[in-house]
């Protein structure tokens, strides 16, 4: 890849797919970790656990240790996840009611929650539930998860389809939570939030820090080395 590509072209052509972002996030989940994956795109993380590691997945509607979707036609609609998709059970599963489920969340018993984002600010605020004040608002369990899990990560495109930054100084969309995000896996980088700053940890090898900064709505800080963000083809 030539270094003189425009940022826009780079962002379109050289970026991680959703599966690749999920793969990268999955590498940071330890064996035996208790994990909640947000509805939709973060759910892909479960597929990419490294060999030898087995996280225990939690769903808000009252299951620990659920597994893959059943084959079509074999769905049990009393065995669903928070996205209302049919799932299966793994050995060692448990059922519980919603108050116990959110005791797990709010009480700090989950090791990791991984959510999608509309915007993340440099102090760790997350906006991911509502674009504006129109339409029907719906929040689900996101506001509980961001203040519950020991670590709350985001997986997101680095910028919107229109090129607007999603990593910003201050969120303009309604907040899901204040100062709750500690790590962001984007289509282009891995960024920690520490002391109210974005700290760049990994970036795609084909782009410069300056190119990444140009796509980002707040300053990217460097602490120590920035390593290459390398993921398999998926």
């Amino acid at each position: 890849m030539s270094a003189d590509m425009s940022n826009t072209a780079l962002a379109e052509d050289t970026r991680l797919s959703s599966a690749q972002m999920a793969w990268r996030a999955a590498q940071d989940i330890k064996d035996g970790a208790y994990v909640n994956l947000g509805i939709g795109f973060p759910e892909m993380v479960a597929r990419y656990q490294p060999p030898g590691r087995q996280a225990i997945f939690h769903t808000e509607n009252g299951i620990l240790n659920f597994g893959e979707a059943p084959k079509p036609g074999q769905e049990d609609w009393d065995l669903i996840n928070a996205g209302k998709k049919a799932v299966t059970l793994k050995p060692g599963a448990a059922f519980f009611h919603h108050a116990d489920s959110f005791a797990m969340v709010r009480g700090g018993h989950l090791d990791v929650a991984i959510l999608g984002a509309l915007q993340v600010s440099e102090n760790g605020d997350l906006a991911n539930w509502r674009v504006g004040s129109k339409g029907v608002p719906a929040v689900g369990g996101a506001m509980d998860l961001v203040h519950g899990a020991k670590q709350v990560f985001v997986i997101t495109d680095h910028a919107t389809k229109n090129g607007e930054p999603k990593l910003v100084e201050t969120c303009t969309f309604p907040l899901t939570g204040v100062a709750c995000i500690t790590r962001i896996y984007t289509s282009h980088a891995v960024i920690d939030i520490a002391n109210g700053r974005f700290v760049l940890r990994e970036k795609l090898p084909g782009m410069s820090v300056e190119e990444l900064q140009a796509m980002t709505g707040a300053k990217l800080h460097i602490e120590g080395s920035v390593t290459d963000l390398i993921v398999p083809a998926l």
Binding site: K84, H97, R106, P137, A138, V139, M143
Partner: protein
């Protein structure tokens, strides 16, 4: 002691206009479809309905909304694969919405059942869903004060019930059901099977009978998800 009702219609017969009604279930899982439809047949209006969602398709809670019975929804996620019933009335200003984060909704219902009038949670602090609510700092962290939720009636789906009202559930159909049993003045439960007292191992009871007033056996309950896939629509008394 025998808490059996002979029919869904009899079980819901006391629910009148203006009642606050908790309805169990998370989407279609644990949704008491037969009790809801019996309530549609009776058609009390101006209800406040508490559920995680706000109906899907043209059955269950969505059919209640279609029938003009619901004045207010208290829920966390009023969206679904087919959210037209709620969406149209909400956007037309015909139905009120109190949006509550899911864990706060669960805890407010439990608090109602447990005699806890208010509690503090970190959830929603600093967001528009906490606007107007008292906040407090404990050990250097900010929390929002939330109030209990109670209801006049809860309509619930369980799996096995005994004549004392002890209940078990089927898998993740448990969800809000055990909490709502606790938080209503009268709790009405449909079960797939009623057994005599002693028919449920005391170790396996999920909802003790003290939280239950009426149990009605609906041997093969309908499943919301399958009904929606089949395109069913309930209009009171009949499926269109």
């Amino acid at each position: 002691m025998d808490k059996r009702s002979v029919s869904a219609a009899e079980a819901v017969s006391a629910i009148d206009e203006g009642a606050v009604v908790m309805i169990g279930g998370f989407g279609g899982s644990g949704a008491p479809i037969e009790l809801i439809h019996a309530l549609i047949d009776k058609r009390p209006r101006n209800l406040t309905v508490i559920n995680n969602n706000a109906g899907n398709g043209r059955i269950g809670i969505a059919a209640m909304i279609d029938a003009g019975m619901v004045a207010k929804m208290i829920c966390s996620f009023p969206k679904s694969s087919d959210p037209r019933a709620f969406t149209e009335r909400y956007l037309a200003g015909e139905i009120e919405l109190e949006l509550v984060p899911q864990g706060t909704l669960a805890e407010r219902i439990r608090a109602g059942g447990a005699g806890i009038p208010a509690f503090y949670t970190p959830t929603a602090y600093g967001t528009e869903l906490a606007e107007g609510k008292p906040v407090a700092e404990f050990d250097g962290r900010h929390y929002v004060q939330e109030r209990w939720l109670k209801a006049d009636f809860a309509i619930i789906k369980a799996e096995i019930g005994d004549t004392h009202g002890n209940l078990t559930y089927s898998k993740a159909a448990r969800n809000f059901n055990p909490l709502m049993c606790m938080a209503a003045t009268k709790t009405i439960v449909q079960v797939s099977k009623v057994v005599e007292a002693g028919g449920i191992d005391p170790e396996h009871v999920v909802t003790p009978g003290i939280f239950v007033d009426h149990v009605v056996e609906i041997p093969s309950p309908q499943q919301e998800e399958e009904m929606i896939r089949a395109g069913l629509q309930y209009e009171g008394g009949v499926y269109a």
